[in-house]
Each structure stands twice: as structure tokens, then as C-alpha cells.
Symmetry: C2
Subunit: 199 residues, 2 copies
């Protein structure tokens, strides 16, 4: 019933996460109401997205050149690697300005339900890095959920198996700053007790 | 901090309604994880959106040709015009399969707060149509909100002023099918009483 260019764009937008056909239709009709130049800018930005981007050959973060900005910055601490799931996690950690080491982006977490096993992630590449680089500490900064914990545990085992003598740490799991103990779930409270420190 | 192609697309997506910078970033990183062809399809669909579309020269619905599909369908009842705010309203009414007349798309509703006065809408074009076409009834199908009611009232006055002797009706405002009287607001209940019919 809809003109083909509209239906086509609705179909494509509906493939994005969190956007159903109704939201997609709303977006398309909003775009139709805007000047052609605005829509062209959006379309060209989509087309240009992957044009000049690649994965960093060292840490698999998103990069504009062979190495990403972090890997090519020699001032960063070359002896610490934070292992994260996604490029967005790099951004989240960078925003804190409290980490000046390197990263390794796995590209996800082990999740048998979604058909993601260790071989789909850049775990072998991490082990190769650890064998060739002068790393003193690996911070497991995967998500504190089921998949992230499983991935961190798997990588730690693999590191031990391949005889790597590198300190492995895990980001602290505890009560979020500004939260209430009263409303926290038991597992988080348990973790925050286990992770207590001298005060 | 982000590579420029990513930041550019985040900025463009953030201009869409209901999409903030966080959602935009999530969408962009999702796109980055997809094959290049998928992203190209989306980008080309955006670019193609306005390429082959225009407004129907008669009713201002979205059209692929000079006249939209509805206006060019001679089997439709040429004597009834439903006045709606947006092309999406045409689709909503068409989905009911209970209206076989023509439409007139105003392009919005009178809203002084948003700087939209009658001259920004296709009201004069509607009056011109009514003078030249053989219309017997105009159904005011603008939204039953403040702006839609004001627009409907304004158009009715203008029709009377310009001496048009055409029946003007307004879509029924009442309780939505499947709802509960208990939870309905007073204005809706009031309208559903005023609009009661023999049973």
C-alpha cells in the first residue's frame, strides 16, 4: 500500500535493534517532512560509516588507520591490557579518564544460546599478543553478567594453559555509586561483601 | 574521541525524533558490526527516499506520480473528502477498509506554540478543491486533540465564509473499542455521551 521507497526504508530501519515497524514508519515520515539536504546528509553518513573505518590490527578497537588512536599513543601504559567485549566498552572506560593502559576488544562474549563460542571471539589474538608483548597485567573488563563472567573465566584458563605468567585481575563487582543497599539484589550485595577493602 | 565517520552518523541520527545520542551511538555500533552490504542497503534506501516521491498535486498525500494512488483511482467515491493532518493518517484510515472516498492532507495542524498558522497548512488548497470539485461531504478527520479540534473548527468557519454549501462532519470522539469506562478520562466519557446513538 505504501510507495516502494518508503516501504524499503521502513524495512531497512526495522532491522536495527529497538526499532520496530511502527517506529520505523514514524521515522520515515519524519524524514519525508524534512528538506532533501538533511536526508541526504543522513544517507551519506550511513554510507560513509564503514568507508574509512577498520579494526585496529593490534587490539581490534575501531580505527581509522592500521592502529587505533590508543594503540598508536606511546604515552599509554604498554604493560596493562583491559579486555573488553565491544568498542563501546572502550569508550565507557576512556570516559572515566582513570585508565591509561591498552585494550583488547573481543567482539562479544561467549554465549552458546546465540551460537557464539570462543573461536568467534578474538581470544586467540589476545593470547598471541600476550606472548609477544611485554604485558604485566590483564584486567578482565567483560560485563559482570553470565556471558561476561564465563568469557573472563575461559580466558583466564586459556592463559594458564598456555603458560602465560601474567597477573589477571577482574573489575570490582559491587554496589553502584549512589545506590541503596536496601534495593540492591542479593548477588550484588554478596559480591560487594566479598570485595570489601580496608577502610 | 570517536572516529569522525562514527561521530557524524551519531549526530545525524540524533536529529531524528525519539533518538537521543545514546540510542544513536548504540545504533551506529550495531551497524558497524554488520556486513558492509547491509549498511549500504540502508544508506541507499535513505538517499532514495525523496528521489522518486512527491506530494499529490490534488490531495497532498505522498505520491509516486502527479496524482497519488487514491486520487488516480476512479472507483473511489469522488464526493467525499476526509481532511487529515498527515500522510500517516491516510494510511491509518485506509487500513480500516471502511472509507472509499478521497483525502486532503493538511500537512499538520494549527499550533501557535510551534509557529504553525493556517497559512502553513494546505487549507486554501482545500477550499479551492471544494470550489472546483463536486464534493458532497467533508469529513474532518484531524486528531481529536487541541490542535486538531482548532484546525477542524477553523476550516469549517472558512468553508462557511466562502459560501460553500457542503456537508461537514467530524469523526466520532468516544471510548476506544476494548477500553474500560472506569479508566477513561472525563472529556472522553462526556464526548461519548454527547455522541450517543439509537441502539
Amino acid at each position: 500500500m505504501l510507495p516502494e521507497p518508503i516501504q524499503k526504508l521502513i524495512d531497512e530501519l526495522s532491522k536495527l535493534p529497538g526499532i520496530g515497524p511502527k517506529t520505523a514508519a514514524r521515522l520515515v515520515f519524519y524524514m519525508l517532512s524534512k528538506p532533501k539536504e538533511d536526508i541526504e546528509r543522513l544517507g551519506l553518513a550511513v554510507l560513509g560509516l564503514k568507508e574509512n573505518l577498520r579494526f585496529c590490527s593490534r587490539c581490534y578497537n575501531i580505527a581509522e588507520h592500521e592502529l587505533c588512536e590508543i594503540c598508536s599513543n606511546e604515552k599509554r601504559n604498554q604493560e596493562v591490557i583491559a579486555v573488553v567485549e565491544e568498542p563501546l566498552d572502550v569508550i565507557a572506560l576512556e570516559k572515566t579518564r582513570s585508565f591509561d593502559g591498552l585494550y583488547h576488544v573481543l567482539g562479544g562474549a561467549i554465549s552458546p544460546i546465540d551460537g557464539i563460542g570462543p573461536e568467534q571471539l578474538r581470544i586467540q589474538q589476545l593470547l598471541d599478543r600476550l606472548h609477544s608483548e611485554n604485558t604485566k597485567e590483564v584486567i578482565m573488563a567483560t560485563d559482570p553478567d553470565f556471558e561476561g563472567e564465563a568469557t573472563a573465566a575461559y580466558i583466564k584458563d586459556k592463559m594458564r594453559e598456555s603458560g602465560l605468567d601474567v597477573r589477571v585481575t577482574r573489575i570490582a563487582r559491587g554496589l553502584p555509586v549512589g545506590s541503596n543497599i536496601e534495593y540492591a539484589d542479593e548477588v550484588t550485595i554478596k559480591r560487594s561483601l566479598e570485595g570489601r577493602r580496608d577502610y
